[in-house]
């Protein structure tokens, strides 16, 4: 059984999820290469050692550069805070190693483009963790749109709303650090943008709005020392797609009660598709032309006839979980690394997504419509 050595940088929320998926993918999907969890890097030796043990990595290091240099590491997997994505990825690329990076790729489109150029120059394969694109119901939405089942797309209405920053005393974290990029528009907004592009296509122009709801937060839990917040808590934009379709995109991390509202509605000339990730094993489909008195949205439950489901479970409606989606992502990545279909979204696509993020920010600052190509 051929293996591929994984070096993971970071062991937080997403590091943990990557580890789950890397351990699970070969067993679920019978991959050509089995991920071997070789080395985990974190902020220092102690943290790294503990995380390696918890997540099943063979070795650990407090130095991510050592990880990149390590001959056992054949794939560099980056789940560190956003501000570190670029230096680590560039170093891995420089070392000629494929990179699997969490989103958002970079603090801004310019830096993302530098990462794209570096990777393409070196011919290094790249992957970015927009995991919800691997949800079989999102893939089904794309398939329904692409097949013309709902006619021509007229509009897209999407949002990614959660509530983890609702409490004004929730402390400052790296997500709020402007050095790492924008706020919720990048953190959650990039997910709904990635879906808009995946299902409908490129966004050409937009007008955006950002809002910082809580302008000062404690520097740490329970502290009275405060730090100013420069990034956005809410973001929204009106958009025009290259196809002529229009729509809206929103993001919020202060949406009280919303835990995973990554929801979108694609309206076509002959039907509509709706998905909401608080019930992500469902897709709602309406098509015109149903008999009078029998018209209605259909609730389709994920099942073995949808992409990547049957390897988890042969029975429909039994449901996939969050980590299963990540496992599908790892399958696609390992398949690509073994010479199969190229992985999407790669750095180039992540840059395109980042340009939309940046365009929203620029538009909001300048209070005007912006062409995405301006960014």
């Amino acid at each position: 059984m051929k293996t591929i050595g994984i070096g993971l940088v970071g062991s937080g929320f997403m590091g943990r999820s990557h580890a789950h998926a890397l351990r699970a993918a070969a067993g679920v999907f019978g991959l050509p290469l089995t991920p071997s969890l070789e080395l985990l890097a974190d902020v220092n030796d102690d943290v790294a050692a503990k995380a390696a043990k918890a997540l099943g990595f063979a070795r650990s290091t407090g130095d991510w550069q050592a990880l990149i240099a390590d001959p056992a590491v054949e794939l560099v997997d980056i789940t560190a805070p956003n501000v570190f994505h670029k230096p680590i990825a560039l170093a891995a690329i420089e070392a000629g190693k494929p990179v699997y990076c969490e989103k958002p790729l970079a603090p801004n489109a310019l830096e993302a483009k530098q990462m794209v150029d570096a990777a393409e120059r070196k011919g290094v394969k790249t992957a970015v963790g927009f995991n919800y694109l691997k949800n079989p119901m999102v893939m089904l939405a794309r398939e329904i749109v692409a097949s013309g089942e709902i006619g021509e797309v007229i509009s897209f209405r999407g949002i990614h709303a959660e509530d983890y920053m609702t409490d004004p005393l929730a402390p400052f974290t790296w997500r709020l650090d402007a050095a790492g990029g924008h706020g919720v528009v990048a953190d959650l907004g990039s997910h709904i943008i990635s879906i808009a592009r995946f299902v409908v296509g490129p966004i050409e122009s937009l007008v955006g709005q950002l809002k910082t709801v809580t302008s000062r937060r404690p520097v740490a839990p329970g502290t009275t020392e405060m730090r100013a917040v420069e990034v956005d808590d809410e973001a929204r934009a009106l958009v025009r797609f290259a196809t002529g379709a229009t729509g809206s995109i929103e993001a919020s991390w202060v949406a009280a009660g919303r835990k995973m509202m990554l929801a979108f509605e694609v309206t076509g000339s002959k039907g509509t598709v709706v998905v909401d990730h608080e019930r992500f094993n469902e897709l709602h489909l309406y098509t015109t032309g149903q008999p009078h008195g029998r018209e209605g949205f259909k609730t389709i439950l994920a099942g073995p006839h949808h992409d990547s489901y049957k390897e988890f479970c042969p029975a429909p409606g039994h449901q996939l979980g969050f980590n299963d989606i990540k496992t599908i992502e790892v399958k696609a990545l390992i398949t690509a690394l073994a010479g199969g279909a190229p992985f999407q979204p790669d750095f180039r696509e992540a840059w395109e997504i980042q340009r939309v993020v940046d365009a929203i920010v620029q538009s909001a600052r300048e209070e005007r419509w912006v062409e995405v190509t301006e960014v």
Copy 2:
């Protein structure tokens, strides 16, 4: 039993609904004045006679001016196509008779303002049929916001989407006639704008987008002769409220599968309220501070503890219907005419709503942010 003589102009969808409500209101609510259905006017004598019979009016006329002049008519109720709202209302005001007019009030804010001025000059009482404001669950949303139960309002996300113009062969109607005003932004958009103002408050500035999806439609059902459509099939805007809250507002009459998606979500610093009129007897409420592991949105079913419900039914969850909402509107209007609390929304409020509609149109045409006071 004191009565008030009603003169109804128009007998289409809304005319019929008004008639239901006018017949029902006194019985349901025990009003100080009982509406007496005196006179119905329509495009000609025949149509009017037939409609009067069907809707329970004592007499009929093909001449709305005769209706206004008729001494038995003490309230002029206008449900004619939009383009007629202004001349009829002005004539009624001139005659010193109170006016109950369907929305939108006028083709544009300027004309709406002329109607406001005329009414205020004459001291005539006015009412505009934004009926969903009378849905007890919309009133509950306002009450929850006003009481501070969800803290300070951060944002509002609203839409009114239906699908009656989805078919590109759906023929041209007065709703598409630019002489009567704008398209869906006025027809459905005005409803969600009215709710935004009712629940959150005035909108100060916005940036809008309009789209005509089907640019030519048959002049009549089954005809091949086509007529160009100048008005919008879809509309959306990003908005800023006077309170500092922000949000988005959308409208569509080509949203395949949506029959009555008049839906909104108000996010506050301490909770969230959600209402969707496809299930308009429900309100979803989330508040922060619930015990760990027990957090969740609550589904509140309309019941006798909510405004105007118990007069229809003493038992909760038994549900009100569309015409019941209109009946509540009539109750409020008759109460106001009998000297009770003034009716809202009156012409002035309808003008304010129309200004937001016009601002969206102007913003979309000029592709820039617009202050609502510019209109």
Copy 3:
């Protein structure tokens, strides 16, 4: 305009609803006879006078026998407590007047049968207020079953659960008085039984279970004096239909949180239909043979293509309310009285329903399967 004089006995929950519907039906449906609200009887003159005023009746009386004798009364409408249904109905029948009676018809099947016999002997038209049978979505369920759209019916699973007796201190009322009949099995159970018969057909045999949850209740609100409760708070049965289908039927008035859970699921060999009256403008339909990956339940919203909807509103999804359903019932009744299609359910059908109720009670007491014909 021909009228029919109505004499209403009782002015509680259902009396009020009947009055709404009687006032509304002619206007909504253009009936051959317009109900004229002539006379209202209640427990004494004062109560009756007040109720007549509130509900729009011309005159009132404290003596229901006077009401039956009154020449202006052409239809006797009985919404008094259950224990009075039989004497009033028999007197009306004796007077040769048609009877419109609330359910349940009688305290038991034997007495119901006496009422059937009396009516049939006299040739008097009868109607019983199982209003949910007039919900267009229940009629649609029957139509779907009858047309074979879901194949042959395999089973039925139904429940009517509410929570108005949940509080153990909720006082004793006439609903709990064994003299008026059984408990929830009659009050709510009869509704779900009526639907089972309407949609699937006659029930042949069953085994039942009853439970009195709160065995003593205050004689009045706030009193400490208690009275023993002899009737059931919960009821359930396994049933066999004449067609060979099987199923279960349940009823509860102590189902905390359930306000109007009159819900049923009909499973056929080729599909399934689901209706729940907490969202009674919806029907959920699944049919086999949908394409792989596109299988799902469809949510059908009530609209103008369904029975009796378009007279209320031409637009789908706008929703009917509780009183609208009663208005449809009145339409059917008035139509029958004017010589149209006979009204169902009449006394005979109500007796059949009562037999099922009694069979559940007998089965529960004797702890054995019971043939409905035994009762």
Copy 4:
């Protein structure tokens, strides 16, 4: 890192799920023993070899007795067809090895009791795969009931309905073989019975009903040769719990459109809990005593404050999948084998569940109420 050698018998639907869970559990939960996938047995050497490769087992065999004898096998995991559960389990017990067996434990309670006795005599630890008991929302239901949050339990209404046998041409499988036990009452019914016992407690008596909907099925896909079906396609029972609570339990594998309707509602004197596994990351909770006008069911999304969730994901609402539930089961089992809290449900509990299954069958055959202790 200490390991425990796993020998898996069977590699179908559940074998695959066990393999996923066994591979995943140590990584997710940091277990005291890491499952080592040593040996897989199946019907012959070829099938076993192929399955071992696919599911990540080191070795394979066509002889389950060899598996039990294998010194590397420290836990015998049985996912073979039901008819094999008993002989394999008894052999493993005889060999002194702990047993992890899929449900149902045995074809009937008598044989299940023999298995219990054997295990208890030998002091062998046992576990049965009623995985839905490990769903954090089912555990939450039990916790809510046990804590008194909904008062005393009045009743339980449960069902497990799927549709995999709806097609009358679906071929005969081992699930239909009466030698392996009863039909859906055992296959799915046992799940809802296990939940009823877990959440409410022991069932004392019941009356049941079984139905074979399709009495003959093809012996294989596409064949015209038919085989008689002796087992039930639908089952239902009215039950009495030891606590005095009552309720109903249903099961169907011909419920067209239902993919994973394992749903139950527990009604207490002060509230209600509802769970449906088609949305198994949600629990609906109603409690009495909410303020007037604010009463409603709360939708609680699974999150890190619920049992076993946070090890999968720190963020609420992100959802667990079917295999994650099985992984929680494996965690509990491995913990028990390492000396932690005893695993439940063990063979004894599975026997108790089987007694209820058998009591339903006996009651249905004899058409009478049956005490579970009769079985």
